[in-house]
Structure formats: C-alpha cells, structure tokens
C-alpha cells in the first residue's frame, strides 16, 4: 500500500514505457504463478485418485478425481479436532500472555522516571546476543521443570521475545508523551490505572502487531512439539502434519521392512493423496485468512522497522 503513494500526480509522466510495463507485468505474473504452483499441486494431488496417482505421478491435471483422502481423514474427526484444538489453545493462550507480558515489561523500561530502566532493558536485550543453546535449555525443561508432555512447554518458551519488547518500548516512548502520564498522576491515578486506562488504549497498533506476530508463531510451531511432546494426545497441527509426512514416507520407503502389521493395516489407505490432503487441511486456514491479515502484518513490519 505504501508503494509510491507519495508520488505526486505531476509525476505521472515519469512512468515507464508501456512495453516495459507489459514486460514487468508478464514477469510478475509468471513469478506469482510459480509462487502458488506448489500449493496448487498439492491440492490437485489430494483430490487425485490413488491408483491413477501411482500410474501418472503427481500432476496439475489429475486424470481421475476422487475425494477418498478427505473422506478418510474426516472419518477420524476426533483426532483432527484434537490437533486443531491444541494449536488453537496454544495460539490463544500464548498470544494473550505474549501481549500482556510484553506490555508489562516494555512499559516500565520506556519510563524516563524509572531509574533502573537501562538495566532491565539490557537484561532482555542481552538474550538477543547470547543464548545458552539447545542442550541446557532442553535439560532445564525436561529434567528440572518436568514439562515434557505438558502444554506449558508449547507456550512458555515463545511468550517473551526481546524483539517484541524493544519494538513495544520504542512505540511507547514515541507515542505516549510524558506529559499525559504526568497529568494522570497529578489527578491521582495509580500506576496500574494509568497502565490500563491510558497506556493500553493508546497502543492498539502495537498490540495488534505483537498479537499477529505471536499468533502466527504459535500457529506454525512444530519445533517445541518435536522437542517436548511425545504423547500423540498433545500433538499440535503442524506436528501432526510432520508425523503424517514421516510415517507415510517410512511406509513407502524400501527400508520399511520391519513392523509388517502397520503396513498391512494401511494397505488400503489412499497413502500419498492422504498425506497431501492432510497438508491442505493444515494450510487452509492460513491461506484463507491471509488476504485479511497480510496488510496489518506489513504495517506491523514497518512499525518494527522504525527502529528495533
């Protein structure tokens, strides 16, 4: 939306020639089709009939259409709802705490009257420079906090993020003038009241940005599940997709000689189309929500780009 919006109308003469414009348009159209092609391909595979898939391979134009894979997936609705439920739960709870904690941390360190603001700002900033790495973190969560197979392990690690805090802090110090806070204090408002009734209502743009970033982060997470969850009850959506990718890959690979009972029970399953149907079900919400949230996301990125 920001593209050249500042150009004045007198500059209309200063645009590229129609032929160059056409060439660029053709180029971008082709590139956009290439961007979308993989998504279209897996959708097409998911509605191809399994036998024709084996004969013809993956194709954009299936010779025989069948919705068996979706029927099969929806026959086990409980499982599907469960992994969706886990993802939605972590998304909602995680985003709530992420926004709340980010605000709670960013507000004091944006206050010039707060003596230790530099210490606390550095405390969070330092986590961007140096991390303990995977091993101590993993041992802390599994051995000492005992969070294996616990939904807290899917939420807690992503709640605090130094980048969000610094963006929010910058937003506060630019957009919330000291005079407003001072006036409220003279009127006798407590710090908490100022925070809830003045600071929060004034920071909706940054709240929306952080919430969007955080929500996407939780929605797309499979890494925390990979590390801390091994009970299928708690698999989230992305991790279930990852499992579907792996286990069917295991079954189709020539190395899969062990565990014959598994392969026999899955022999009549629409294997590869099923896998792609699972992918479509996982991607669906993002693709449908995309047109609505992407411009807020772009706006948010430019808030952050001001200075982190």
């Amino acid at each position: 939306m920001k593209l050249g919006s500042k150009k004045s109308s007198t500059l209309r003469i200063n645009s590229i020639s129609p032929s160059a414009n056409l060439a660029l348009n053709i180029f971008f159209t082709v590139y956009c089709i290439l961007c979308l092609a993989p998504l279209i391909l897996i959708f097409m595979v998911s509605i191809t009939e399994q036998t024709s898939l084996v004969v013809n391979g993956y194709s954009f134009f299936p010779s025989k259409i069948s919705f068996d894979a979706y029927k099969y997936l929806f026959s086990d609705l409980g499982k599907l709802f469960r992994c969706y439920g886990i993802t939605i739960f972590t998304c909602v709870v995680g985003t709530f705490f992420c926004v709340l904690f980010t605000m709670l941390y960013a507000y004091p360190i944006s206050r010039k009257s707060f003596k230790y603001r530099n210490f606390f700002a550095f405390f969070i900033f330092f986590t961007m420079l140096f991390q303990g790495g995977l091993v101590p973190w993993y041992i802390l969560y599994t051995k000492y906090l005992r969070l294996q197979n616990n939904l807290i392990a899917l939420i807690m690690p992503a709640v605090m993020n130094a980048f969000y805090v610094l963006v929010t802090k910058t937003f506060f110090s630019i957009n919330i003038p000291d005079s407003v806070l001072e006036a409220a204090r003279i009127d006798g408002a407590s710090e908490f009241r100022i925070f809830w009734q003045i600071v929060i209502p004034m920071s909706t743009p940054v709240i929306a940005t952080i919430a969007l970033f955080s929500c996407l982060n939780y929605w797309n997470d499979w890494y925390l599940c990979l590390l801390y969850i091994n009970d299928p009850k708690y698999y989230n959506l992305q991790y279930s997709m990852y499992q579907a990718l792996r286990s069917l890959q295991f079954l189709t690979s020539s190395l899969a000689s062990a565990s014959g009972n598994v392969s026999s029970s899955l022999a009549n399953v629409p294997g590869e189309t099923l896998r792609m149907a699972m992918a479509i079900i996982g991607i669906g919400p993002i693709v449908f929500a995309y047109p609505f949230f992407q411009r807020y996301f772009i706006k948010g990125l430019t808030i952050g780009a001001v200075k982190g």
Binding site: M1, F28, C32, G57, G133, I139, L245, R246, Q294, T302
Partner: protein, 330 residues
Amino acid sequence: MPASVNITPETNIVTETEPNKKPIWKRSKFLKELSTNKALFLMLLPPFILVFVNYYLPMFGVIIAFKNFNYVDGFFRSPWAGFQNFRFLFMSDAAWRITRNTILYNLAFIVFGLIFALLFALALNELRSRFAAKVYQSVIFLPYFLSWVVVAYLVLAFLDPNGFYNKTLTKVLHLPEIEWYSSPQYWPFILILVNLWKNVGYGIVIYTSGIAGIDPEYYEAAVLDGASKLQQIRYITIPFLVPFMIVTTIINLGNIFRSDFGLFYQVPMQQGLLSPTTEVLDTYIYKALIMTGDLGMSSAAGLYQSVVGFFTVLLANWAVGKISPENRMF
C-alpha cells in the same frame, strides 16, 4: 532465587550518602527506588522471572559442555570433563563440515536475498498499476507465512520419486529421472531456492518501505533534468537504500553462525544421505542431543555456536557503528 537477582547489579550504583552500616546503605538506595516505583517493579516481575528462567538459566547451563553429563547425577553432580567434549568435537570431521555448511548457506542467503528483494522491490515500484503491484506483492509474500513442515510437503510434491519432476517434467522436457532425496549434490541449490522463495517477500516489504520514504521531489528534479528511469534508479533510489542495505547485511553477517533449523531439518526430510550438504550447526546439535543422545558433543557444539555467534554479533554491531552510528543496536 530469581527475585533476589535484580538486587545485585544495582549495588554498583554507589553514591556518597550519609554514613551508615555498609550493607544497609548499599541496599537502601535500591529499596527507596523500590518503594517509589513499587507498581513498575510489580509489573516487571512476572515477565522478568520468565525471561530469567527461559533465557538466563540455560546461559548458566552452558557449563554442561565442560561436564560428563548424565541425567541421573544431573547438572550439579555430573563429573567434570574439562575440554574433552570439545576435543572430540573438533577432532571429528563433523565440526568442519557443519561450520562450512552454516557459513556458506548463510552467505548465499544474504547475497541472493539482498539482490532479489531489491530488484523485485524496484520493479514493483515502477509498475503503472498500483493495484497490480499490491496483488503481486501479496502473492510473493504468501510463502513467508507457511511453516517449514508445509514447505517440506511442497518440496516433496515436486521431488518425490513419484512427484511432479520425475513423473511429468521428465516426460515433457526429456530430462533424466533423479533420486533427489539421495543425491546430496543438488541440495545446496534446492535449499537456496526454497529459502529465497519463502523469504523474498519479507525483504520486498522492507525495501518497499525504504523506497516509499524517499522524497518525491528528488525524482521531480531528475525528470526536469531529463534523467531516464534507469538513471533515476541508479542515482537516486539505490544511493538512498545503500545505508540500509549495508546495515541489514552486517546484521545478517552477525548472525552467520545461526541457521534456520526448520529449513535444514524439514525440507531435506532428515535423509541421512543428504547430510554432507544439508547438515548445519543447529541440526547437528539437535541430532546429537535427541537422536544419538551424545550430550557431550551436542553441548560442546552448542557452546561453540553461542560463543562464536556472540562475537560475530558484537563485531557486526561495531562495524555498523563505524558506518552509520544511528543504526547501532547498542
């Protein structure tokens, strides 16, 4: 334990106040601030504890790399191992391979990411139809929002033995069939391409906002002087974006020791045959920890990554400070 930590760093803010017994006077300053700004401290407390647990406890935990860690004895009672873990790590051929892969991939991502994002942003900016530019930008940005699991699916649909390449493209274009998932030589290209496809939209947004910040008067003056479109890009747009490009590049160079775990873990689908060209520090650390359970190697590699990464970030920040001080991170 966490709550007491915020006392120590402040104690060095020493001023000559009235004589009192030392410990109390050292604390009193902090306590005074604590009572005047009670609410602010209360606000800070929950997120502070979370940051301490999630980020600072593991920082102390890097000591594990110098221990012969086992789960029974835990962090405190496992026997010391000195530099043994590091000796094993650097004597193995893995250390060189994963370091080389991490650095080369990151360099490729930085160079191609910069070039393509810049070219796309410049071209989008010149399109006559604003609406078309917005649509293209949105479509190119879409892959950025997909998770790496989804990307692994998309790549598989093309490269599977039964996939689009081996079943359709080979027939149409008369190409040889290729077992992609057991041919490591192709993977540098595949991973660079996939990373570019996923992330170029992000770069375009950043550069587009940079271009939008240029004062249109420069272009008006250039038009009056008869400058062509390419000349305007060459002498106005690019010079305006140069400081920005330098800063982004240096920051990315600072992160050259860190890699995107999802890209290297999900997209090659953990095929062992591909590891010579797809294994990077992060995947090595993960595999050593979870799959082979080699905690010594894993923690040594982790500390190696953290420490070298810390110094590259510091170096990058110093370099940014030299070139454009206002963009320094700290």
